[in-house]
Symmetry: C3
Subunit: 115 residues, 3 copies
Amino acid sequence: MIKRLGAGKRLSMATIHNGLVYLAGQVPDDLSVGIEAQASQVLGKIDALLAEAGTGKSSILTATVWLPNIADFAVFNTVWDAWVPAGASPARACVEARLANPSIRVEIAVIAAIL
Amino acid sequence: MIKRLGAGKRLSMATIHNGLVYLAGQVPDDLSVGIEAQASQVLGKIDALLAEAGTGKSSILTATVWLPNIADFAVFNTVWDAWVPAGASPARACVEARLANPSIRVEIAVIAAIL
Amino acid sequence: MIKRLGAGKRLSMATIHNGLVYLAGQVPDDLSVGIEAQASQVLGKIDALLAEAGTGKSSILTATVWLPNIADFAVFNTVWDAWVPAGASPARACVEARLANPSIRVEIAVIAAIL
């Protein structure tokens, strides 16, 4: 009754239960780039996982965004705002937190409905 | 099948789905005041959003509290403890995190049931 | 329609609603020990609360881990990885955050299904 996507020993990239999908904190693959490109990568990974779960960004209920450097807030938001579907924005919290790898500039976790 | 309150381009103040309401991280409007008054403002905004969603603080399932200065923990808790309904306290985590605006002393996100 | 475990004035250790259990951020009881032993204590408390709720670690949907010192990440993961059931890993995010008591080395909150 729980389906998992990208299930590893440590964590699953997503868990699916009772019409909701819970994504693990998504981080960029290419850490050599700046906040703007890292944000695009993370949002692309979220799109892909939500598609695999049978849903999409219009059905995100809540998102948590961690930025190791809160000074990236404004630039991150330009990428985020362009990505959020008109009329279908999620609840969101965005706070500063250092992450496992100091080269990661953004990590995002979401809970989405599967409609 | 997803209802949104205070839907903006960047985020919605709340999303409602399948009997749950997910609130965006709530922050004070008047940042000129101290932690005690900021906490009251945030809890008041949560009350208002939950009422708009058809529920209230007795139905909060979980709350996440971010304090940019964890030294505010004790004073924040005096306001929080007075606000929590007797016999109906939520699960909670409270951690330190710097926030988008350095004048914000507290941010709170909750998930509540609509009974 | 909401059941609570370990309900206190400030928070409940767990809230149960509609087939899900939401745990408060769990912290160790004995803070005199290192990250490895603290992690074991926290995971043990999660096991106990999930059992009381009628579920277990194989049904965790998502976990949020806060480490006040992200340098503890690798050692924490050795304890975590040994605890996660094969084939039933949850979604997870792990970030750095200072906690209420500076002797606490790890705090974990989870949402689990009751199958």
